[in-house]
């Protein structure tokens, strides 16, 4: 018995809400009660196999109306909705299958892949881990972990799982090799990655993703001719090109400063799309090209449209209330009076120590890391998600019923006095597993943007670690945030105004931490790094406690590949163009100047 459309669940499953997203677990029939429905489910499966989807759908809806927890019917209905392109319903049904049948490897695998595809990495990791728990000997579970952890900025863990697949299958599958190559490229291990791409392409020469990844590797490694050759080869294989190839070509031409040609590529890309328009990434790339060409109004229009489209397609928006709640609670917790009663973690003398490179996304943290990691005693750790992880793990590790930061109150308990040491060791152990440390290194950098949100926690865990805060004209950050996509900071960069609001929240928090704590904190202006490079680097290294090394002046020779969005800039010599770039966009930035004005003044900048 099917309900009228108006009464159906909003997810699009075809079920009534009470049998779908508003399900009441207490009303679910037991397996025994629903046993008589098994033949109907079998008929649905058979119908689906025979291509009779309508019959299969009707049968599934009937079964699920009576027993919404019949996993077999859920599975068939999910396949039908997937085939219909109803992503929301398909995802909802997959989640329900995994909920009712946690050991269902196939559904877990599929759900994890679906979450990966839509960029919900945190959740994807959870299901990928479950897949390994369900089937530790199944190569696909490890492949899933490899895929997802590579994208979740934990490439060393991803590499482990890819290599586990190689071990379990005892074959060198070309696709797997290409995936592993992409992983190694993200670790900056370019030669190893290149060798794997060569091996993969030799075995299977015409795989788009493989060739695209290889082209990206060469482009990132500044081998523009090699990248060009690969894209040429792709155009030979697929004369009609395709959006991904055209975008890769546009990016490459942009890096080669052939802006007009790059724009032509994007125009061709738009012509090929169904609605004649570019997608969010392509619009952002177009904006960047127009910016390079000095067409600032057109550039900003492209950026703004890219943001709008990204919001529309992904549904991502700034989590205003969540951000407000966290920053308010952090501000209330980290006060001088309370801090005087909290212990500090001791300092481990036996392992390299972190240097925290702090800053809002797009403020120059990558440049700072590249500079520091040119020093022989400092290695780059990149964006380590570990402080964020610790904030989530803290309640469990400190056995607290409270969340972070209130869970730190457990440190007053006699049995948790060493709690911070345990959290510190978690961080350091994970760093060791990431294999970023090299012999002779005394320090590693952690440049996770917005780690300054947790400055208080960091100072409790690593009271002697240098905190290098890269600051930059807030309006330049706004321009840069508009011309890039990033999800840090509760997706604040989904719009100009929310970027500004989050900036203010975080800087207010930094102000509070600095007022209430004795921090080993040094603010470094991005602009000083551009105009007064040597003095600035000398000052930073002295603050770290390391002697000056001239290699740091030539960070662009640092062979390390900086994986984040800044890589194209940091592989060039310092240039002045990125300083006070906001002036070209002033009229577009007017809506956020009132939000930022006080902070612009604090920082000693002006708007002119």
């Amino acid at each position: 018995m099917n309900a009228p459309a108006a009464m159906l669940c909003r997810c699009g499953s075809g079920l009534r809400p009470a049998r779908c997203c508003a399900i009441n677990p207490a009303e679910l029939p037991s397996d025994e009660t629903g046993r008589h429905l098994a033949p109907l489910v079998e008929r649905a499966i058979a119908a689906q196999r025979q291509g009779a989807s309508e019959t299969a759908e009707r049968l599934c809806l009937d079964v699920l109306e009576m027993a919404p927890n019949r996993v077999g019917a859920l599975g068939v209905l999910q396949q039908i909705r997937e085939a219909q392109g109803n992503q929301l319903a398909a995802e909802t049904l997959l989640r329900r299958i995994v909920f009712f049948d946690p050991n269902n490897f196939s559904a877990t695998n599929e759900l994890a892949l679906k979450l990966l595809a839509k960029g919900a990495l945190h959740e994807a990791v959870i299901h990928a881990r479950n897949a390994v728990r369900i089937a530790p000997g199944n190569p696909q579970s490890h492949n899933l972990m490899g895929l997802i952890l590579t994208e979740a900025q934990r490439p060393t863990v991803g590499e482990y799982h890819y290599r586990k697949v190689l071990e379990l299958t005892d074959t060198r599958d070309p696709i797997l090799l290409a995936n592993l190559a992409w992983n190694l490229k993200n670790q900056g291990r370019m030669e190893e990655a290149r060798a794997l791409y060569e091996e993969s392409v030799a075995a299977l020469p015409a795989v788009r993703q493989t060739l695209l990844g290889w082209a990206r590797l060469e482009e990132a490694d500044r081998k523009f001719d090699a990248a060009n050759d690969i894209l040429d080869r792709m155009e030979t294989l697929w004369p009609a090109s395709g959006p991904a190839i055209l975008l890769a070509r546009a990016v490459l031409l942009g890096r080669m400063k052939r802006y007009d040609e790059a724009l032509i590529m994007l125009d061709r890309l738009a012509e090929q799309s169904s609605d004649g328009r570019l997608g969010p990434n392509e619009l952002t790339e177009k904006g960047r090209l127009l910016d390079q060409m000095g067409l600032y109004d057109d550039a900003f229009a492209a950026f703004a449209e890219g943001k709008r489209l990204a919001r529309e397609l992904s549904g991502q928006h700034y989590l205003d209330k969540v951000a407000e709640n966290l920053t308010t609670r952090l501000g209330n917790f980290f006060t001088a009076g309370r801090l005087q009663t909290l212990p500090r973690a001791t300092v481990r003398e036996d392992v390299p120590q972190p240097i925290f490179v702090l800053g809002f996304p797009r403020s120059g943290t990558t440049l700072m890391e590249q500079t520091l990691s040119s020093h022989p005693r400092i290695v780059a750790g990149d964006e380590l998600p570990l402080i964020h992880d610790i904030t989530g793990l803290m309640p469990r590790m400190l056995e607290s019923p409270l969340n972070y930061p209130e869970a730190l109150a457990e440190l007053w308990m006699g049995d948790q006095r060493e709690g911070l040491d345990n959290l510190r060791d978690y961080y350091l152990q994970k760093v060791a597993q990431m294999r970023i440390l090299t012999p002779g290194a005394a320090w590693f950098t952690d440049k996770m943007p917005l780690n300054e949100t947790h400055l208080g926690l960091i100072a409790l865990l690593f009271p002697q670690s240098p905190l290098i805060h890269v600051i930059r004209h807030p309006l330049d950050i706004m321009v840069s945030a508009m011309s890039n996509h990033f999800t840090h900071g509760f997706s604040c960069a989904s719009a100009l105004e929310t970027t500004a609001r989050h900036y203010v929240r975080v800087m207010d928090l930094v102000k509070q931490y600095r007022s209430e704590m004795a921090l080993r904190y040094l603010a470094v202006r991005y602009e000083d790094m551009v105009t007064d490079q040597e003095a600035t680097i000398r000052s930073v290294l002295d603050f770290v406690g390391e002697p000056f090394d001239p290699k740091c002046l030539h960070f662009q020779e640092n062979q390390r590949y900086a994986r984040t969005a800044s890589y194209a800039q940091v592989t060039e010599r310092l240039y002045d163009r990125s300083r006070f770039r906001y002036r070209h966009y002033l009229k577009h930035l007017e809506p956020v100047i009132p939000i930022l004005q006080a902070h612009i003044d604090w920082l000693g900048y002006t708007v002119d």
Partner: protein
Amino acid sequence: MTSPRDPHYAAAAPRLIPPSRAVPQRLGDVRVPVPLVELFTIAAGFERAGKLEEADRLFAHILAVAPNQADSLHLSGVVAFRLGRQDEAVAKVEKAIQHGIDIALYLRNLCEIYRTLNRLDDAVATGRRAAQLAPNDPLCLHNLAVLYYERLEIDESIACADAALRIDPDLASAHLSRAEGLLIQGNLAEGWEEYEWAFRIPSVPKMMPPTNRPQWRGRPFDDATLLLVADQGFGDVIQFSRYIPWVLERCPNVVLGCSSEMVPILRQFLPSSRIFYDWQNCPPFQAFCRLSGLPRLHGTHLDSIPAPIPYLHADPARAAAMAQRLNALIPGTRKRIGIVWAGRPTHNNDNRRSARLSDFAPLADLPDIALISLQKGPSAAQAGLYFGRAPLINVGAEIADYDDTMALLHCLDLVVTVDTSVAHLAAALGKPVWVLLARSPDWRWLMNRDDTPWYPTMRLFRQTVSRQWSAVMQNVADALKRDAFG
């Protein structure tokens, strides 16, 4: 020092001229059902009782009806001044003078408002007019004495105080003005004597419960117990604690009353058992003496100031722990410069003596230094707004008491501070300390010199323009580059 020299700016008894006589009013404008005279009396009562918000509201009603009513304008201006609305205060009192009848009072108060706003030339002109209109009003003259001190025209200041005292020889605040003028000129002997009047000013809080015991006169006092009272601000206590050994030579049985914060300082001279900070615990005594009265009893002249530097010492264990902490926070080769940019905000001279952290910008641009904040109190929050090139380590956030402060000072290469207790403490510890002084500084810093006989390791940097720190800070930065670290 808690200066009791505030000029009298509040109104005398209100003398409202009925609006019908004083100012032409259109009856049709009257919207308040209570007669204005009564409203004024109530509002003036609120002002006297310190209920400024209530007074403000009532005056707003009155002035809406009678916008040119002089007494209301004047007193409303005084209320605005006390509420921190300085520009409005000036406008109202100036308007009252335009429409007033008995204007000496208004001028006297306007003189003080101008002085507070650093409009010193306007203040002099206004104050002189007030004195001409009311030649027998000693308060007008006293206001002028205070004003001339601020202009660093000390002879004129003393002359005005003398003139006020000729009219009212018991006007304690004029004696204090005279004392400060004499002291800053280096005439310590006469200055100390006049300074004793400070404690007769009615508005000065009593330093101790009433007693029938006599004040100590400085003579040996072998068998009896002498009570020393650590009066005035923390800086004064640190400065004058140097006299305690001199007292002990004459009076072995000393007990000392002080605020609890001062115990870490004073127990370096006396066992803790002889120090109390709650009058309920005050033991019996036969005579008493204020710490700030000791220079007079000692007969201190400029060339006989006892300066056994260092006369205070950091606790070695605390100093070692602090050194370790600082080494962890600032491991490089930078020189460590402690800074304090503001004093206690309730100090009546605070708007002149305190700076802002942003004023330290010339120091922040120097290479090879680290700034260590010793700042406490509400101004410490400015540390969060600092983004200078030199790192600023806010150790002040971890300082709990003067023991911590002494330990921290012990670890520094130099202290640069406005005129606060930290200046005295660093100097008493024998540390190099550079003090940033207002144009008209406290009397103890004397005039026209960059050193002080009170502390040999201290260097003074004086404002040349009142309330402007930029030149002072630039001088400090230049001196740091030139002299400090060779």
